[in-house]
Structure formats: structure tokens, C-alpha cells
Symmetry: C2
């Protein structure tokens, strides 16, 4: 408690601060908090970028995961997407109403739905993906290509580390 924290590259030249000059204090060395600061900014951009499409970020994520995993069931999508299965119902309803996705009863297990995007859904997803990537383009431009890869790699490894530990002993 009395030992000083090691001075990191991230706060050399003084204590780490927000863009408006607020000191981060104990939050400076919290990975989760540092990610959230960045996501607060990116999230606002994504909401604005998706507004013309009339869909929310979570709905787009749902579309992208369906597209990448044809025949995906709602229960699995809910678990992986970090939302409740009941919350997903409204999202899939909305996608069906707009003709972007379809539910078909699974022939293997008739309790579950096989989800798939329609061609219109595929097309819209590609458009929205481009809009979403544009919100992060400044990061790709401001970092070197190698640094961008390093960021992806470190986020991936951190995620796998935590997921593996959770698998042994869930947090909830």
C-alpha cells in the first residue's frame, strides 16, 4: 500500500489524465477503466454512425454474428453476445420485420431457431460495417500498422486469459 506504483510508459511525464485534464488516480492502472474511457468516445460515434440506418449498435452486432455463424440459435447468440435470451427476442423480431433476417425452425432440434440474414440483411450489414470501421479509422491512422496488430493481439490474449480462468471458476 505504501509502495509507489511503477512509472509506466502510459503516464510518463506525469499522472495519467483524461482529455479534459482530470487526473485518473487509482483508475490509471485499471485495464477495464482505460478501455471504458476509449469506448465512451467510440460508442458515441457508433450510435451517431448507425442512426441513419435506424438500428442500434447491439442490433448490428447481432446481424454480424448471425452472418458469421449461419444457423446460429438464439440461446447461443444471447450467451455469446452478453445479453439475455428474452432481450434477444425483440432484436430478432425487429430484424425480421425489416426483412433483414429470418427464423427457421431447426430440423435437428425443433425447439430452437436457426437464424440467417436475408440478402438485404447481408447488404445492410456490409454498409453498416463500413460505417462502424470509419469511426475507428483515426486510430488505425494514428498508430502504425504493427501497433494496431499488437493492440488486437493483446486484447485477444487478455480475453482468452480471462475466459479460460472464468471457465474454471465463473465470477457470478
Amino acid at each position: 500500500m505504501s509502495k509507489p506504483l511503477p512509472r509506466s510508459a502510459a503516464d510518463k511525464g506525469g499522472e495519467a489524465r483524461t482529455a479534459d485534464g482530470l487526473a485518473l488516480g487509482l483508475m490509471a492502472r485499471r485495464i477495464g477503466f482505460r478501455m471504458r474511457l476509449l469506448q465512451n468516445l467510440l460508442g458515441a460515434r457508433v450510435v451517431a454512425a448507425f442512426a441513419p440506418f435506424g438500428l442500434r449498435p447491439g442490433t448490428f452486432t447481432t446481424m454480424a454474428l448471425i452472418a458469421a455463424n449461419p444457423g446460429l440459435s438464439q440461446i447461443r447468440l444471447a450467451r455469446e453476445g452478453g445479453l439475455d435470451k428474452s432481450a434477444l427476442v425483440a432484436i430478432v423480431d425487429q430484424l425480421e420485420e425489416r426483412g433483414l433476417a429470418v427464423r427457421t425452425r431447426s430440423v435437428i432440434d425443433r425447439r430452437s431457431n436457426s437464424l440467417a440474414l436475408t440478402p438485404a440483411g447481408e447488404a445492410l450489414m456490409q454498409e453498416m460495417s463500413a460505417a462502424a470501421q470509419a469511426t475507428e479509422q483515426c486510430i488505425r491512422d494514428g498508430l502504425s500498422p504493427a501497433e494496431v496488430e499488437t493492440l488486437f493481439e493483446l486484447l485477444e490474449r487478455a480475453y482468452q486469459i480471462v475466459a479460460r480462468e472464468d471457465a474454471r471458476e465463473p465470477p457470478g
Copy 2:
């Protein structure tokens, strides 16, 4: 659109997937989404770690920012913390009721409150900070010290890049 994405270190050996094997598709190259995957896991851990204290993560963040910025006003704290000023009233109320923080009218501008932690608030914040750091310890253990520093540095630089661009042209 027809150009294949460059194969990155983060998804070498095949498409990037969640811990449960779901393909990420277009989300694989989204910095915001990759951070959110990790935060979904960390967030559940932090909520569990804070439950014994009877406080939520946002309340702890508020305490930490007050501690690092003595005399902070509610309006500035709300702006920086990414929440509405009206939402902050309930949080500060709760901190005052539990004797963890105090409001004093600013002598410079009597419209604004100067926020400060009480000694009890300082002590609890230190305890909660240790509990929060413990939720991320496996990442610090699983990555090398240099990699941890690189992760902090890249998150910091990405944040500053986006914040600087937002300052020129806000997204909302």
C-alpha cells in the same frame, strides 16, 4: 469491398472466435467490439467483487475521481465520467449518506459543489481498488510486464487520438 482483409496476428490460424467458438466475422477487426468482449468478462467480475461493499462500479469510479481531483465539481465529474449531471446527484447522495464523501459549497463559484472524500471514503476506496485490481490480476500474470505496459500505452494513445479528433468535430 472485394479486397481480402490482411491476416493479423490476432487471428492467425483461422478466423477469430469467442471463447465458446463463435466466429466473429466482421466484428473481428473492430477495436471497440474486441474491447467489449473483454469488458463483458471483466465487468461481471467487478460487480461480484464490489457486491460485499454494497456499492456499484460507477460509484467506485466516482470516488476514485474525487480522490484524485480534490474539490472537483459535480458538473465536471459528470462530463468526464460519461454520465448525466442529474444521474450523479443520486450517486453523491449515496456517498454522503454513507459518510464516504462530502459536498461543500465552492467559495469561488457558489453555484458549484466542491466534492471530497472523507477519511472513511479514502479507506474504503483503497480497499475496493485492491478488489478491482484483483479481477484483472490474471491478465497481468498472463502477459509479460512489457506487454502490459504496451497495452496501457496503446489504449492511452488511441484514447488521445479519438479525443483530439472529437475536440475538432464532436460526434453527437
